[in-house]
């Protein structure tokens, strides 16, 4: 048997994202009234969003690449689902889109203002992962009225000093 230790950095980054979203305020008021973590796309879709605006952090996966001198360059992939209720029915989606985009951008600003301490820009000559990389958000402001929903992909780079440093 081998004695090992576990750094669990991917969880530490998820927890830091959760803390950043839960602690974000605009003019003293919380941006999100409910922040939760899930691993299931179905669970995120079925969430009742009892408190809104809501942010649901969905863990997708972690990948790692062998780096220089035995280190591991890693990427953590998340989807942040943002949902809010907008009382503005009708063909014109302007108000619903404005609000869901405001919350999507607030989520980005919240994480960028308090980036996870374990995340870092990492790589070598055949692999590179920026500290934070925001993907293309999918916004649906009319399909689930009165809810407006945005799904925001995000990736975090981080470094492990050795293959046994996971």
């Amino acid at each position: 048997m081998a004695a090992i230790t576990v750094a669990n950095k991917d969880w530490a980054i998820i927890n830091a994202v959760k803390t950043a979203l839960a602690g974000a305020t605009i003019e003293g008021s919380p941006v999100f009234r409910a922040v939760s973590v899930t691993t299931s796309a179905d669970q995120a879709r079925q969430c009742q969003f009892t408190g809104h605006p809501a942010a649901v952090i969905r863990y997708v996966t972690t990948v790692d690449d062998e780096g220089v001198d035995g280190e591991r360059n890693c990427r953590l992939l998340l989807r942040i689902l943002i949902a809010t209720m907008v009382d503005a029915a009708g063909v014109d989606e302007s108000l619903r889109l404005q609000e869901i985009l405001r919350l999507k951008n607030a989520a980005i600003n919240a994480v960028e203002a308090s980036p996870p301490g374990d995340s870092d820009s990492v790589g070598d000559n055949d692999f590179h992962a920026p500290r934070i990389h925001w993907g293309e958000a999918e916004v649906d402001a009319s399909g689930k009225l009165p809810w407006a929903v945005a799904v925001l992909p995000v990736e975090f780079g981080y470094r492990l000093p050795a293959a046994t440093g996971h």
Partner: protein, 130 residues
Amino acid sequence: MPSVKDPHSVQIGSCAVTDVLSIDWGEDRTPIHARADDDLYDTIAEFGAATVIGSVTFRDPVQAQSLANKSGTFSCSFKGMGGGQDRTLTIANCSTGGPRHVVGRDAVANAVVPFTARSGDGTTSPVSLA
């Protein structure tokens, strides 16, 4: 097929460095030509002393800077892959030059330190790969 990868434990003299991305090297020998006359011209009789030229590419500019302008025996190790064994490269009578750096906006920095070595005679190679 067996091969090697992952250069590590890079050292010249007593100066050890880390963060090496790649190493390239090549050995050249000057051809010594036979005598020439009207019937026989420019035939290679043998190769002369060996000159080795190569470079070490780093990710960390500071490590590259520390390897620059040194002299001694150069050595590094490679990991065997595809069933291949670990190997050690040794180059005698080696000296390094100044580094050349590239730092991009959104990529890993790259710094290259050139080195050269020369054999003491026409039959001995300064390069050993064991």
